[in-house]
C-alpha cells in the first residue's frame, strides 16, 4: 500500500520538462538579482570609495541611524505612504463609481483621469514646481486674483511634503481608478437587483454592496500604492530634493544624498535598511488584506 503510493506521488510531481529548462532564467536571475543583492550586503559593511573598500563591520548602520534627519525621513516616508495610498483609495473609489455609472462622455473622462499616469514623473515634478512657485506660480497667482495669499507650497517646511504627496496622488490616482473600475464591473448585477427590491437607497447600495465586494481591488490598490509611497524618490527629488533643508526628506532621498556625496558603503547600508523597512511593513499588511479576502 505504502510502497505503491510513493511512485504514484512521484509520478504526479514529475514535470513535463527537464529541470535544466529553468537554467537560463536561473542564470539571469542570479546574475542580475541575487549577485548584486548579496554583494550589496557585503558592501554595506565596508567604507567604499568605488576604488577600494575597507571592512568596517556595522559602522555604516550605526552612522546611518545617526543621520540627523534619518528619523524625520523615516516618519516622512510613512506619512507620505499613508497619505498617498489613503487618498488614492478614497478618490480612486469615488472616481470609479462615477465612471461606471451612466454619465456623459464616460469614455473621454476615463482617459482624462488616466492620462497623468502616462506622463513621466520627472516631467510632472518639474511642471508642478513651476506651478507651485510662491510668487510667480500659476496656483498662487490664481489664488491672488480672488484675494487669497497662497502659501509657499514647496518652500514652507511644514507644507513641502504634503504638496509633493498631493502631486503624487494627482499623478497616480488614474491607476487606482482603473483597478477599481475593473473591480466594480466584476460585481454581479444580482446584488444590486436584490438591494433594489429590498428598497435600499443609493448610499446603502454603496456601503453594503459596492464597498464590501470591491475589497480585492482595494487590497491591490493599497498594496501597490503603499509600496510605491515607501520607495518614493523621483517625484520628491524632482520637486524639492528633500528640502527646504531636510523637511521633505524620505528614506530614499537620504540614501541618494549619501550616494551622491560618495559615501557608497553608507548608502548601500541605507538600501538594506529600506529593504527591511518595506518588508516589515508590507508583508504583514498583505497578509492581513489577503486573510480578509479569504473570509468572503
Amino acid at each position: 500500500m505504502t510502497a505503491s503510493a510513493v511512485p504514484a506521488l512521484k509520478m504526479q510531481r514529475r514535470s513535463l520538462y527537464p529541470g535544466w529548462f529553468y537554467a537560463p532564467a536561473a542564470v539571469v536571475y542570479s546574475v542580475l538579482f541575487l549577485a548584486p543583492t548579496f554583494a550589496s550586503l557585503y558592501f554595506s559593511l565596508t567604507r567604499w570609495t568605488l576604488f577600494d573598500a575597507t571592512f568596517i563591520g556595522l559602522d555604516n548602520f550605526a552612522q546611518f541611524f545617526r543621520e540627523p534627519f534619518l528619523i524625520q525621513g523615516l516618519v516622512n516616508t510613512v506619512i507620505y505612504a499613508v497619505i498617498t495610498s489613503g487618498l488614492k483609495v478614497v478618490i480612486g473609489m469615488m472616481l470609479a463609481v462615477m465612471l461606471t455609472s451612466q454619465i456623459m462622455a464616460r469614455g473621454y473622462l476615463r482617459s482624462v483621469i488616466f492620462f497623468p499616469v502616462l506622463v513621466s514623473t520627472i516631467g510632472v515634478g518639474m511642471t508642478f514646481t513651476v506651478l507651485m512657485h510662491p510668487t510667480l506660480g500659476m496656483i498662487n497667482q490664481t489664488l491672488a486674483m480672488i484675494g487669497i495669499q497662497g502659501p509657499g507650497w514647496l518652500v514652507d517646511p511644514k507644507l513641502a511634503l504634503f504638496s509633493v504627496a498631493l502631486v503624487d496622488v494627482w499623478k497616480g490616482v488614474g491607476l487606482a481608478t482603473v483597478i477599481y473600475i475593473a473591480g466594480l464591473v466584476a460585481i454581479p448585477k444580482d446584488y444590486y437587483e436584490a438591494a433594489r427590491i429590498d428598497g435600499a437607497t443609493k448610499l446603502q447600495n454603496f456601503f453594503y454592496v459596492t464597498l464590501p465586494l470591491s475589497r480585492p481591488a482595494t487590497a491591490t490598490v493599497i498594496t501597490l500604492s503603499f509600496i510605491g509611497g515607501l520607495r518614493t524618490f523621483d517625484l520628491i527629488w524632482a520637486m524639492t530634493k528633500g528640502g527646504p533643508g531636510f523637511a521633505s526628506d524620505t528614506v530614499a532621498s537620504v540614501i541618494y544624498k549619501q550616494y551622491q556625496a560618495g559615501f557608497y558603503g553608507l548608502s548601500t547600508a541605507g538600501n538594506v535598511v529600506l529593504f527591511i523597512l518595506i518588508a516589515v511593513l508590507v508583508v504583514p499588511l498583505t497578509m492581513f488584506l489577503n486573510r480578509k479576502q479569504g473570509h468572503e
Binding site: 518652500v155 517646511p157 527646504p244
Partner: protein, 429 residues
C-alpha cells in the same frame, strides 16, 4: 655585449627624441573626448578652444561631452573614473573635491610638462596629490563675496561696507527705500553656502591655523566663534527681513538677473557670476559691482578666494600625447586669449603671460585690488583642507530660512564633516 647594449640604448633614446620632436612640431592627429559641465560659460569656452585647436590641427577631432554640475556631476565623474569610461580630457573642481576622485590612481600626472612652468604654485598646490601635479587651470581665479547693484548704491548714496555692521546698516537703508536688500536663491541649494564659505578669510584673520586643526579633527565650526559667524550672518539677513519674497524658490539665474537689473541690491556669489551676467543680461554688466564679504574689523578687510576649476587627463586615455598637447594649449596664453574673447574676463589668471583686456567689467575691476599689492586675500577652506561636508548646502538653507539656529547649524555641519573625513580615511577622526 656592453657595447651593443649601449648602442641599442642610444638608438632608442635618439628615436625617442625624434618622436618627441615630432610631437612638438608637427600637427597632431587623432581623436579626443572632452567632458565639461553644462554651464553656458563652460560650454562656450570649451567650444571656442576646440574650434581654435582643431583649426590648427585639422586631423584632430574633439567631441565635447556635457554633464550636469553639482552633486549629480560629481557622481558622473566618480562613476566614469571607477568604471574606466572617463573622457580623455575632463573638467572638474580643484581642492577638496579633486582629492576625492583618487587622483594618483585615476589621473595622468602632468608635473613635468612644458606648460606647467607658467602656472602659479598656489594653483598647483590644489591640484597635486602624492607629489605630482594633475591639473591645468580651466578659468581665472575667483573671489567669493557680494555683488551689489551700482545704481541703487548711487541713488541712496551708500558707501562700500568694510565691516559687517556697515553692511547691515546699508541693508537697512535699502529696505527702508522699499527695495530688496539681499537676494538669496535657495531654489538652487548650492547658492545658499556663500555667506558661510566666503566668510572664511575673516575666520583666518582671527584663527590663522583653523584649517590645519580642522583637518586634524581638533577645531570644530561649532566651538570656534569666528567660524560660527558665517552661519550667524546668514541667520541675521533672514531675521532682519532683507530677503526677496521668493528666496526659497528663486534660482541662480534669477539671482544674477535681479542684482544686475536692480530688483535687489546685494547677491552673495562667486565672481564667476560675472560671466553669467555678461551672457544673460549684457546691458546691465556695467551696473554690477563687487566687494568682499565684510568681517568685524575694517582694518583687516579682505577677500576669500577660490582657485579655478581644472582640466585633467584620465589615466585610461588612448591618446596621452594628444591629450597633453590639447591641455597645454588650454593652459597657454593663447588659451587665455580665446577665453577672454569667448566669455570675457572674469578675474586674474593663474597662468604666466595671460593678460586681462583693458576694459574689464566693473565687478572684475573691483576684485583685482584684493589680489594686488597691499590687498588682502586668503583661500577658501576647501583649498586648505580636503574635507568639505556634503550636507552644508541643506544646512545653510535651513539657517538662511529660519528653520534652524546658527549655532545648531554649525554643530550639525561638524557631524557632516566627520563622515567625509572618515570616508577619506584621515587620521584623528
Amino acid at each position: 655585449m656592453t657595447k651593443t647594449k649601449l648602442f641599442a640604448l642610444t638608438g632608442a633614446s635618439l628615436l625617442g627624441l625624434m618622436m618627441t620632436a615630432n610631437a612638438v612640431n608637427a600637427q597632431q592627429s587623432g581623436y579626443l573626448s572632452f567632458l565639461i559641465d553644462n554651464g553656458p560659460q563652460s560650454v562656450a569656452v570649451a567650444e571656442a578652444w576646440v574650434a581654435a585647436y582643431t583649426a590648427k590641427n585639422p586631423d584632430v577631432t574633439i567631441d565635447i561631452e556635457v554633464r550636469p554640475g553639482g552633486g549629480e556631476g560629481d557622481n558622473i565623474v566618480k562613476t566614469r573614473l571607477a568604471t574606466g569610461a572617463m573622457a580623455d580630457v575632463f573638467f572638474y573642481n580643484s581642492g577638496s573635491l579633486f582629492q576625492a576622485i583618487n587622483p594618483v590612481q585615476n589621473l595622468l600626472p602632468v608635473t613635468n610638462e612644458p606648460w606647467q612652468a607658467g602656472i602659479q604654485d598656489s594653483f598647483k598646490s590644489v591640484v597635486s596629490a602624492g607629489g605630482e601635479v594633475y591639473g591645468t587651470p580651466f578659468a581665472p581665479a575667483m573671489g567669493g563675496g557680494i555683488f551689489y547693484n551700482k545704481p541703487i548704491y548711487e541713488e541712496l548714496g551708500l558707501e562700500i561696507p568694510k565691516t559687517w555692521d556697515e553692511f547691515m546698516a546699508n541693508n537697512e537703508k535699502i529696505k527702508a527705500a522699499g527695495k530688496t536688500a539681499v537676494i538669496q536663491t535657495y531654489g538652487e541649494t548650492w547658492t545658499s553656502q556663500l555667506f558661510v564659505l566666503a566668510d572664511f578669510y575673516n575666520v583666518l584673520t582671527e584663527v590663522p591655523d583653523f584649517a590645519e586643526k580642522f583637518t586634524a579633527g581638533e577645531a570644530k565650526f561649532a566651538t570656534t566663534p569666528a567660524a560660527v559667524r558665517g552661519f550667524e550672518k546668514l541667520q541675521e539677513v533672514y531675521e532682519a527681513g532683507f530677503l526677496n519674497a521668493d528666496f526659497g524658490a528663486a534660482t541662480y539665474p534669477d539671482g544674477i538677473r535681479m542684482v544686475a537689473t536692480g530688483e535687489g541690491a546685494h547677491y552673495p556669489m562667486l565672481t564667476f557670476g560675472i560671466g553669467a551676467i555678461a551672457e544673460t543680461v549684457p546691458d546691465h554688466l556695467q551696473d554690477v559691482g563687487f566687494f568682499a564679504q565684510p568681517g568685524d574689523d575694517a582694518a583687516t578687510n579682505g577677500l576669500t578666494t577660490w582657485m579655478p576649476d581644472s582640466v585633467y587627463i584620465a589615466k585610461t586615455t588612448a591618446a596621452p600625447d594628444l591629450a597633453k598637447d590639447f591641455v597645454g594649449f588650454i593652459g597657454s596664453p593663447e588659451g587665455c586669449d580665446i577665453r577672454n574673447e569667448a566669455v570675457g574676463a572674469t578675474g586674474p589668471y593663474m597662468i604666466a603671460g595671460c593678460e586681462l583686456p583693458a576694459d574689464v567689467p566693473p565687478a572684475v575691476a573691483d576684485m583685482l585690488p584684493y589680489f594686488q599689492e597691499g590687498g588682502h586675500n586668503g583661500p577658501a577652506l576647501e583649498f586648505l583642507s580636503p574635507i568639505k561636508g556634503p550636507a552644508l548646502e541643506q544646512i545653510t538653507v535651513e539657517v538662511g530660512s529660519g528653520i534652524r539656529q546658527a549655532a545648531d547649524g554649525a554643530a550639525l555641519y561638524d557631524e557632516d564633516v566627520r563622515k567625509q573625513a572618515q570616508q577619506l580615511g584621515l587620521a584623528g577622526w
